[in-house]
């Protein structure tokens, strides 16, 4: 196995790899801040502990992925605290503030599932550094997904209209992140990942349907295909810029408090 590097790749494949990794890293950046913001809404002490732990892990993933991109000519300091809100590539799924506890749980579940699916495409990549990152993120996402599964089982047992509504609203945004069927998947073509974006999206769809195959839980969202407006940016894997209010939350406030 060979480590990917800036010198060994075409400009197109380098841009695609950096774009994909940055989409995961920035989504984890926003997700980590969501966890932090959600702490005070936890229903019990274990929620506070879990949300804080998941926040730390998510921001750790962000930094590890930024570090990985140094090998491709990216500047770590710039990635972490030099970019404006138009350059942040987090998924649209995480743009809006949660409207309820159910909405919050639905969104973090979909974000964890989506980012894991994206990273799982690199599990057999030719670059051992990227494989290691994918495995590390996977083992920790497993833990986070168990937290979401615990809450999901509680929602299944009670009145779950709010949960179903949140799921129906947010799921298309998770699917959207993987792009259109016609998108040219450079990383798949170049052998830099062994599962393409279309297959990853289908796997996400299957997994979410499997997770919600519970007695008495009626929800069918498979027909709700994602939509792509004119502002969809295939390189950033998102439409439009990060909302201003959200950017003020996720950007590092004090550079002196950040260690390189």
């Amino acid at each position: 196995m060979n480590r990917f590097s800036e010198d060994s790749m075409s400009l197109e494949s380098r841009a695609a790899l950096v774009g994909n990794v940055l989409a995961v890293a920035d989504s984890k950046l926003v997700l980590g801040n969501w966890y932090l913001k959600g702490v005070h809404n936890g229903r019990a002490l274990p929620d506070f502990a879990a949300l804080l732990a998941m926040s730390a892990t998510s921001l750790g993933h962000t930094r590890a992925l930024y570090k990985y991109l140094i090998g491709f000519g990216e500047d770590y300091s710039y990635l972490e605290r030099g970019r404006g809100r138009g350059e942040i590539r987090s998924m649209n799924l995480l743009d809006a503030a949660p409207e309820s506890w159910e909405d919050f749980l639905t969104t973090i579940y979909l974000a964890e599932q989506s980012t894991w699916m994206m990273m799982s495409g690199f599990l057999n990549a030719p670059d051992p550094a990227l494989v290691g990152l994918a495995k590390k993120i996977g083992t920790e996402s497993y833990f986070h997904l168990k937290y979401a599964a615990g809450w999901r089982s509680i929602f299944f047992e009670g009145k779950n209209e709010t949960y179903r509504e949140a799921l129906s609203n947010k799921f298309p945004l998770a699917l959207q992140w993987f792009g259109t069927d016609s998108e040219h998947d450079v990383l798949l073509d170049q052998g830099m990942r062994n599962v393409g974006l279309v297959e990853l999206r289908k796997a996400l769809l299957r997994q979410v349907l499997t997770d919600h195959d519970a007695p008495g839980f009626e929800w069918v969202s498979a027909a709700e295909a994602p939509t792509f407006g004119n502002d969809w940016d295939v390189d950033k894997r998102r439409a439009g810029e990060l909302p201003e209010g959200l950017y003020e939350i996720v950007k590092f406030q004090d550079p002196a408090a950040v260690h390189d």
Binding site: P46, A49, A50, A53, Q113, W116, M117, S120, G121, L123, N124, K135, G138, T139, S141, Y142, F143, L145, K146, Y147, A149, G150, S153, N194, V195, E199, L200, K202, A203, R206, Q207, T210
Partner: protein, 65 residues
């Protein structure tokens, strides 16, 4: 509740494999709560076992790292 990741867990009190998951929220953040159908003991079980979530390449089964 059912979760294939917790099937066949051996009871730490009577070593029975007849155990079931009660809740994914155990005594601490990293633990789930299980019950032994043989001796009726309730016990915590660490839910993070270095496993990966299901992914396309493993047929959606999850995989040990």
């Amino acid at each position: 509740m059912d979760d294939s990741d917790f099937r066949g867990v051996i009871c730490p009190h009577c070593q029975s494999e007849q155990t079931e998951l009660i809740s994914l929220f155990g005594g601490s953040v990293s633990e789930a709560l299980l019950r032994c159908k043989e001796c009726q003991s309730i016990f915590n079980w660490v839910k993070w076992r270095g496993k990966l979530p299901p992914a396309p390449h493993d047929g959606g089964q999850g995989k040990q790292t």
